[in-house]
């Protein structure tokens, strides 16, 4: 959230959020050229002059990645609730309604099945335009269900992150989504299904510090801000200027944190290529690979989507009885 404000101030024209202008012409934040809006959109929201990657709407992202006609939406079965009765200058419920009206989705995520150059995947794309892409219970649950359903349907998992972090209006429950999404990824690991995570501008806080950096491969788009603590928080802490390019994708690539930085026009084929190779391991070694993480192969670890969760003691008893 802090980030969202920071961006509004520093990068007024970037992205598809509230503050983005809706005129025919846009000024590119990268090269300051005047770009015709349609040209930008036709070029995958990449500046035709300098290659600056504007934020991309969720539906355009899906259209760019999924083979034509292959996308089938999964998300939408769960809606956010105001568990804490959170009110700041405005009630959380009203903020939710406004975001839902604006984006026409229940929360900050869209998931579904698709193929990428024929490779079956589950896609999870975050919407920074919905309360800054913050992760509350619904985002966590949709990520978890998508990962688990991908595992059930023998699909690789591809997530496209864009988030200001945890949704503080859901208190500690939003913090717990970091652990929830992480344990849900085990369903993929157990079946040796690849998970490729794409970090886009911006990916921060609790999303960076959970599922989004736990991909078998983690790549980013050029120029994307990727961090745990936002630049403003760090500046306030250390009281000095930040290095040039700090926390941007290229910086993190040099620091060893990313597998690669991939320009948007190449993204689909690179992701498909990764999935293809990671699924082309030797059959003779696959069996024992599963044995190796017998930890993860425990059948009692399987989670039933939507089934009422038992409490800890019950789970322990049940698991023990298995």
């Amino acid at each position: 959230m802090a980030l969202e404000r920071w961006f509004r101030r520093k990068r007024p024209t970037r992205g598809d959020d509230d503050a983005s202008p809706t005129g025919l012409w846009l000024k590119c934040p990268g090269c300051h050229a005047q770009i015709y809006r349609k040209d930008l959109i036709g070029n995958l929201y990449v500046c035709p002059e300098c290659g600056f990657h504007e934020r991309m709407p969720v539906e355009a992202r899906v259209a760019m990645l999924a083979d034509e006609g292959s996308f089938e939406r999964w998300s939408g079965a769960v809606m956010p609730s105001d568990a804490l009765g959170f009110v700041d200058t405005e009630p959380y419920t009203e903020r939710l309604q406004a975001a839902q009206s604006k984006t026409d989705r229940p929360d900050a995520i869209l998931t579904g099945a698709a193929t990428l150059e024929g490779e079956p995947v589950a896609l999870a794309v975050m919407d920074f335009g919905f309360l800054g892409g913050s992760m509350g219970s619904v985002v966590g649950e949709e990520i978890a269900r998508a990962a688990e359903r991908a595992a059930d349907e023998d699909r690789a998992f591809v997530s496209v992150a864009a988030s200001g972090g945890a949704r503080m209006q859901e208190g500690a429950l939003s913090l717990m989504q970091m652990a929830k999404t992480t344990v849900a990824l085990e369903a993929l690991a157990r079946r040796r299904l690849p998970y490729v995570s794409v970090l886009t501008d911006p990916t921060t806080g609790g999303v960076t510090a959970s599922f989004a950096t736990l991909g078998d491969l983690v790549v980013a788009e050029p120029g994307a801000l990727i961090c745990f603590a936002g630049p403003r928080v760090i500046q306030q802490t250390i009281k000095q200027d930040l290095p040039e390019g700090f926390q941007r994708a290229e910086f993190l690539l040099r620091k060893g944190m990313l597998d690669d930085v991939i320009a948007r026009p190449a993204l689909k084929s690179r992701l498909a290529g990764y999935v293809r190779v990671l699924r082309a391991g030797l059959a003779s070694c696959a069996g024992s690979a599963v044995v190796r993480d017998a930890a993860l192969a425990a059948p009692s670890l399987d989670h039933d989507d939507g089934a009422p969760a038992s409490d800890g003691e019950e789970a322990l008893q049940r698991a023990t009885a298995v």
Partner: protein, 317 residues
């Protein structure tokens, strides 16, 4: 230095001290008066702490003199022996790890350590770990699994450190890795939030089978001050933010985020550190005793389910 709402308690304590001194000095018997005042002190303390609001509890959770992780380790476990280093970046004093014994079995211990004074606070970076701290934890999780040693973690941090080096070294990456690694532990894991459970930096070490919390400890997605600065654009609104965040032990129990609350001595752990340490010792021993005969598979499954079900969503019609 008492907390603001402790002033009446502090005053009464001073009066009792004075009266004792006077009685000694003058060799008069004031035991009746003193007993009465002590009774008043006890009920005043009880009443004060029974109706603390959330912001006051935040202050208790951070109170000077509240026992730190190492204070607990000294008596909750036996023969604690510190192990240093992450084999990559350094050794983080904000996140202490090591071996210990609990009854007849070995233990791996991880503890977020704030300072007990300014000098130690600087050394410990106020309990805010760098990536090397979490990497040390990853290493010790591996050690625990290899040798079947249960894991105890003590949580007390404002959060993972936000700084240039921390970001360069992948603070987000190591926190995610620590959450994942701890969720995969093949041994029993018990976490106790003893003071401040600050955001992802706390959760990274709290993916346990049993998450306990001290009565006046807090556990939150964000500090009240930062929440206020963002949502009210004014850090001075921290008390309102604390209310909104529902970050007390009771709140967390209600939310299903913690499994049980360990009562503190009346007046808070800082009033009676020994009492608090003993309460934690008993709670930790019981928690491990309840877990120790379960198989690795059941422990992993229970931990997995515990965190998989977190959150509140409405199923769409």
């Amino acid at each position: 230095m008492p907390l603001p709402f402790e002033k009446p308690i502090d005053d009464l304590e001073a009066r009792i001290r004075d009266m004792r001194a006077y009685a000694d000095e003058q060799d008069v018997d004031l035991s009746g008066e003193i007993a009465a005042l002590e009774q008043r002190l006890a009920s005043l303390t009880r009443e004060t702490f029974a109706k603390l609001d959330r912001w006051q509890r935040v202050q208790v959770a951070r109170a000077a003199g509240r026992p730190t992780a190492l204070d607990y380790l000294a008596r909750v476990v036996e023969d604690f022996s510190e192990l240093h280093g992450d084999r990559a970046l350094g050794d983080d004093p904000a996140l202490v790890g090591g071996l210990a014994r609990l009854g007849d079995h070995g233990l791996v211990v991880l503890a977020q350590q704030k300072g007990r004074d300014t000098k130690e606070n600087i050394h410990r970076n106020f309990g805010m770990a760098h990536p090397s701290g979490y990497r040390k934890a990853l290493r010790l999780f591996d050690l625990a699994d290899k040798f079947g040693l249960p894991v105890l973690s003590l949580i007390d941090t404002p959060g993972a450190y936000p700084g240039i080096t921390a970001e360069e070294q992948g603070q987000a990456w190591v926190i995610a890795a620590s959450i994942q690694r701890m969720s995969r532990l093949r041994v029993p894991a018990v976490s106790v939030v003893i003071g401040e459970g600050g955001s992802g930096g706390a959760l990274a070490l709290a993916v346990a089978n049993r998450v306990l919390i001290l009565e006046h400890a807090i556990y939150s997605v964000i500090s009240p001050e930062s929440c206020a600065a963002i949502r009210w654009r004014d850090a001075a609104e921290a008390p309102r933010a604390a209310e909104a965040l529902k970050l007390t032990a009771d709140d967390l129990l209600e939310q299903g985020v913690v499994d049980s609350v360990i009562p503190e001595p009346v007046g808070g752990a800082h009033k009676d550190p020994d009492g608090a340490v003993e309460a934690v010792r008993v709670a930790v021993s019981e928690a491990f005793a309840a877990l120790r005969d379960h198989s690795s598979e059941s422990l992993m499954a229970q931990r997995h389910e515990r965190f998989r079900r977190m959150g509140r969503v409405l199923e769409a019609a």
